[in-house]
Every structure is written in C-alpha cells, then in structure tokens.
Symmetry: C2
C-alpha cells in the first residue's frame, strides 16, 4: 500500500495501519473497547478528521473509528479495487423509445460505492440492467458520464455542459434525457437547465436517491424507473425533478424545475413543488398530468443557451444583518444580488443606504422571500415602496435559489438595466406563478380530514 | 403644511401638492386618466419613490399615484391628525386573570394606521375593548408600548428589552404576557425570548396580524382573542407564536418559539411549526394541548438573561457561493457564523480552506439546513466528516434563523470553545428535536385522503 493512498490518515490511525500492514481496500476486523467491527478500509480526503480509521461495513454504512491504544486490526482479506456489478447486456428493443442517462455524480446508480466509500456514478447500461431490470421494459438506455462531482460541489459552469449534452441528445434518436444528480443541489441544476433550454423539445428528468442503492430502503430503483417512464413517454418537454412523492413510496412526482425545492434532509419524498401542484404523477406505467399548462414535446431542434454571469450573490435578511455585507459585493465586482427578505419582501431600513450604493454601482438587485411560499408585495407597505425607490426589483414568487440562478442567466444575456428588469419580471420557464392554487400551501400532516380538520393531540 | 411634512414628496407630486395647497392629512379627490381616487394624503419617508402621491383610501389600502400633467387634486377635507378609536373603559373583573400586552409595532391593534399610513401600535385597554370587546370576557388587560418599530427593523438589542419587561410583568399580578409584534421577524423574537427567559413562569404569546385591522378580512381580532386565552389560561410557561391555524380561520395554533417559521408572505395561517406538531390549539375558549412535554406554569421568579454577542452571521450555500465571503466575517471581527448548508449539512469543498481560516480565527461555526426540515447528518458522508474536522459544529434540527439567535445568546455567555460547543448541541429551549413525529413533515394539500392518498389533477 503506497503512502499516498493513506493520505487522509494521520496520528494513531495511520500508525496502526502502517504497523499491521493494512491499507486502503484491506478487509479488516477492528477490535475496540466498544466492540468489534468488520469492513473495508476506505480512502480518505486530506481534510478528514485526524486519528480516525474509516471502514465500509457490510450493511453499507461507513464508520469512523477513533483509534486509541486499545484498538487493534486484523487483516482478513482484500477487496478487489475494481469491484464490478455483474454486467448483463441491456436488451434493446427497436419498438421502445431511446433514453439517454447522463451521469454527474450523486447517489443514484452508485452500486460501486461499496469499494470507494464515495458517491461516484459508475454505470453502464449493462450494470443498470443488472441492478434495475425493469428499466428494459420501459426504454432502450444509453449512458454517458458528463462529470463526477459531489452534488454540494456543483458550480454554475457545469450547468452549461449538461445543457449542451441535452441539446445534443435531443438531436439524436433520444425521446428523453435522464440526469443522475446528487440531491443537495439538484433543484439549482434543474432551474439552470430550465433557463438554458428555452426551446426544449423532449423531457429532461433529474433524478437521484436519498438512500444509497446498497441499502434496503434505497429509493434509487423506483426513482430510476419513474424517471425512465417520464423521459420515454411524458407528453411534456420540460425540465423536471422526479423523486418519490409520498411517505408510502408508491408513486413518483415530477416537479417543475423552477418551482422545486429539497425540503427535508433525509426523507425520500423530500422534493416538493413550492406554491403550486406538481407537474405530473407517475405510478407504475401510469403518468397523470396534474398541470395542464405544460410545454408539449416537439420536433423543433433544442438549443442550449448557456451564457451566465457568475458574479451573483444571495443575501438573507435577519435582525443583526450587517449593512457592510453589501460593501463586500460592491468591492468584489458583483453584478447581481438576490435578497431574501422577510415578510412581503423587506430588508431592514438601516441597510438601505448600502443597498442604494450597490444599485448605484450597477448591481442588479432582486427581492425574493424567505417564507418561500407567496409573492413579494412591495406596493403594500412603505418599506417595499422605498425598496423599489432605491432600485430593488420585486421578484414575485421566484424562490430565492431560483431567482439567483435566473439572475445569473439574465445578466449573462443583457446589459441594459431596463431589459434586465423586464426579463427578471417575465415568466421565462415557469419560475413565476400567476397565482397559487387553493391547495398549494403546506399543511401539517396532523390536520385531518382535509384541510380544515382537527389536530389530533398525540 | 410645513415643508418638512412633505419630506418624502418630490418632483411632480410635490409640485402638485404645493400648487393646490394640499398637504399631509388632507382628504383629497385625485383625478387621473386612469380614474378618480379619494383618500387621505399620507406622509412619506425620504427613501420613497419620487414623483408619487400616496393616499390612504376608504377601503384601508394605501395607493401610490404617479403624478403627471393630467393629474389634478381637489381638497375635500382634512383628517384630524390625532384620530382616535372611540375609547370605552375596559371593564375589569377581579375574578379574571390579569394579562399584560406589550407593544412593539406591527399590524395587530393598529386601528390608528388610518391616519398615519404606517403600521404603528397605538392601543390602550379602552381602545382595544372598543375594537375587540370579547377580550373583556377573557382577562383584565393592561398595555404598555415598549418601542415602536417596523418588524423588519427589529434588532438583537430590542430582544433584551422585551425579555426584561416579561420578567417584570411575571413578578407583578400578571398571569401571562401578550407581545404585539409585526410578523416579518416575529419568529426571531420568539426564539430570542425563549433563550433569554430560561426559567419563565408564565406564558408569553407573540401575536400579530397578516391583514390590518381596518380591512374586513383582518385576523387581528381572532388572533388577539386567542392570544388572550393562551396568556390568561394556558398551562404552559413557554414563549409561543399564536396565529390562525388553518385556511378556514376557525382556530389558532400556539407554535413553540424555537420551532416556528413564517412560511407564506400573505396567508393568515402563515406560521408553521417546523419538524414537529404545534404546542397547542385554541378554539373559542378551548385550549387543546398537542405536545405534552411543555414546561408548566410555576411560582418561581422569571429572570431575564439577555446577554448577546451580536457579531454573528448567516451564510447560505449555493452553487457559485464565493469562498471569500468568509474573509468578510473574519476581517470584521465576527465571533460566530451559522452556515445554511445543502442536504444533510454540506458546503462546497472549495470553501473549506476559508472556513478553516474562520475557525482558526476563533469564529464558532454551526451547520444548519436550508431544507428546514430534518437533521444535520454530518457523519453520513465524507463531506460532513471533513466539515467537522475543520471545526464546523453540527446543528441538528435547529432552523437556520434559530441557530443564528442561539449562537448570539451562547456566545454572549461562554468564551470557552468546548463549553460553547456543548451548549450549542444541548437542547435549551425546544430548539433541538429528539426526533420527528410521523406527521411532522409537510404535505401537499392536494394529497388526500390522509397522507398516502392520490393527487387530484386540477
């Protein structure tokens, strides 16, 4: 085992590994005062906590063990570094629609994390067929890895790469595109692609999983099947996020890419459409359209319009927010700022002089809501009217994250302040609601039956 | 009319007012090409949009009219500058509990905004009895204005003033305290008071309204009555937010001050308990306790522990976030930073060197979730473990805003890093959940019946 492969190991953990001759990919039994643990020694990043040994256990969980003088290691084997999912030939059927699956990293289709400990997409059609054979009933699948990054490391420059790949695929034989994506920033990418593909002709379905595919509770397989159904057969040509839709995990929902948000750290139905109903529901091979106002599939060519201005910031209001934060953005040459205000779109008055300075420095300012639901109402109170007077543009119902992505895209296309304002206040890709459906606001599950019922004391 | 009172007026609007002799508080008929409007000329702030005339119309709405060469004004009267709600003597009953209502500004009990155009609390027990006579059936009410600010201008220094007033009231005859508060930052104040009143002996109920009391749809009266019921009779000694609980507006909910968030810009049931069920429900004179784990009323003295460290920032992760933002906080002497991460609590790896610098500079770093629901899970993936290695403290289920308030309070009390870490990871005032109830996550109202039903296409 080369020293380089022990890079993330230090202190007692590194000493123990070196003393016993164990290294990354060794299968070991670790004895500690808290019990014995069996697993594969995993590679670690240089930022990893010092003194810990990290193993992948049989149940699929990674475990960090703090090594002390009572810790011993026994080597019981060695994992092949290139473990492979048994690969079967994906049975292609000329009568079935062709679907392209683009990989970006993330938990979906990550069977290989058994050996890497990371969440790395590594899938061929054959591997996927071996893992999720139902896919072959839906479509002919081709796959391509576009890049491999952690979802949290997503950057605006990657969005354009994906948009271009979608445009390419749409010009070939593909009836739809699936994008495997980590869930952390999936909604940001969905929003970006919604703006970057203004004349999209096929469905683009972002999909991931909240639980690794090596765990029994994984949602990877149903999510992939739902995504394949939507990509192959949905009547809409829109960018959607498709993940499980309810706690019972019987069906999937397709959320419009500009209205979706990850709303729970860990449940599988974490993605929710905010302020509206989801675009569609998918249950087995049944696709139910909920929003009839979708853009239909077409035969027109899809083009990718990927220009972005990346100097766009996002600032939340809170009691105690420092007005000098606007100096940071002014001094660093920012071109746009999304404000996430309180209530109907309010920032503290004491920030106004600095906000006005930012506006005078040519920074485009857009107000969004930290309530997430609702609309800016900047004509209702004096504060909102004053904010408009110092240059803040009301963002309507745009979610703060979506407004950030849209502002990057708009500033990549326009320099004229009036054209920028007009574009920002125009609904381009479903990001601005005309109104909310009566059942578009969140309720507490304890309220039943229906929306006006009685809370059950527990 | 002095020039000073026309301060917020400029351009054509100011000229028109001066030409016709109209001023602030004049009742005018304004004729424009778009129609005629009757109302009271309102004072404006110096930041107000130039060229506009602002009037309060009979329906209670304010309106900004852009003045041009086709605009004329006819003076038809003058509003008394000191309009008063007809004041009736609040009938006190020695058998009824005494309740103190503290005013801070905000929309509740704001009948006087008819003349000011602002949202200014101006209420005596007599005015309130005249407006909401039902209050006298519940309690004997005393009132005190602590300060008058817009909710969005709330600052940490005001929280301590309120906490001290509550402690004072609890030592007198009062069975409970109501705090009238604008809804924008109500949840921040509720969280701050929860930490600042560690041995609270009576209920503290924050209440406001989403619609001014001069509008027919106002929630001011039911909210005040529910708040009075809770302050006078609830068995718990906790800080809660009480606002309407459902779209039908038949009942109120009491949300624990450290778990509540404003989730809609404008609906009246905007406040929601996040990740848990509300503490209680109030319907007429019936108070139903939903969470049995409340702190009961007591006869022990309530003390206010108001020390705060205000140099605490809040940073959201997004693709494109600039790692240099951490330099701003380091260079400005910040003591604490709450990070609102993606997923289980993740920031981009490219921010890690700067985050580590912040930690090395003595800044306490706490991770919270932009999903709002759920728990940090920083042992699950490598990213989270690396984040802990560079000093980030997992914030569990603490909401980003609540973590910000708590960090201010904790850093006001402790300088030792280990004690700070321990306090941050200890549940002090209900801010950290042990788990989530099965019905604690948001659902879409379209899902029915119950939580696993079918979405109704619209």
């Amino acid at each position: 085992m080369s020293g380089n492969e022990l890079e993330g190991y230090s202190g007692a953990a590194k000493e123990l590994l070196q003393k016993t001759g164990a290294g990354v990919w060794s299968i070991v039994k670790v004895k500690t005062l808290k019990g014995d643990f069996e697993g594969i020694v995993l590679p670690r990043n240089k930022f990893a906590a010092p003194g810990f040994l990290e193993i992948k256990m049989k149940n699929g969980y990674n475990m960090g063990i703090e090594v002390n003088e009572n810790t011993t290691i026994e080597i019981i084997g060695k994992q092949e570094a290139k473990y492979q999912i048994p690969e079967k030939k994906f049975p292609k059927d000329p009568k079935k629609p062709n679907v392209m699956l683009l990989g970006t990293g993330g938990t979906v289709a990550s069977r290989l994390d058994y050996t890497t400990g990371g969440v790395i997409p590594a899938f061929t059609p054959g591997e996927l067929f071996s893992s999720v054979p139902e896919l072959a009933n839906v479509c002919n699948l081709d796959t391509e890895i576009v890049f491999k990054i952690f979802s949290e490391d997503m950057q605006p420059q990657y969005w354009g790469q994906l948009a271009s790949k979608v445009a390419e695929a749409s010009k070939k034989k593909y009836k739809g595109v699936i994008i495997g994506h980590g869930t952390d920033t999936m909604s940001f990418t969905a929003a970006a692609l919604s703006f970057m593909l203004p004349n999209l002709s096929i469905p683009v379905v972002l999909v991931g999983s909240q639980r690794s595919s090596d765990r029994p509770s994984s949602d990877a397989a149903p999510n992939l099947i739902h995504a394949a159904q939507l990509a192959a057969r949905a009547p809409f040509a829109e960018v959607v996020v498709s993940m499980l839709g309810s706690p019972s995990h019987t069906y999937g929902l397709a959320h419009r890419g500009t209205r979706v948000r990850k709303m729970h750290s860990s449940v599988r139905h974490t993605f929710r459409t905010i302020g509206d109903l989801p675009l569609a529901k998918v249950d087995g091979d049944e696709i139910t359209i909920i929003k009839k106002d979708y853009r239909p599939r077409s035969n027109k060519p899809t083009t990718a319009d990927t220009k972005l201005e990346e100097k766009v910031g996002l600032v939340y209001a809170y009691p105690g927010v420092n007005p000098a934060i606007f100096d940071f953005y002014i001094n660093n040459g920012y071109k746009g700022l999304v404000l996430a205000g309180t209530g109907l779109g309010h920032f503290p008055h004491r920030c106004f002089p600095k906000i006005k300075e930012a506006n005078d420095a040519g920074i485009t300012l857009v107000m969004s809501l930290q309530t997430l639901w609702g609309f800016t109402g900047m004509d209702v109170y004096e504060t909102g009217r004053e904010e408009q007077a110092i240059g803040i543009i009301p963002g309507g119902s745009m979610l703060p994250e979506v407004a950030t992505v849209k502002l990057m895209w708009v500033l990549g296309h326009e320099k004229d302040p009036e054209k920028i304002r007009t574009l920002l206040q125009t609904n381009i890709a479903g990001e601005m609601l005309a109104g909310e459906p009566p059942n578009g606001f969140l309720v507490l599950q304890g309220v039943e039956p229906g929306i006006d019922g009685v809370l059950k004391p527990r």
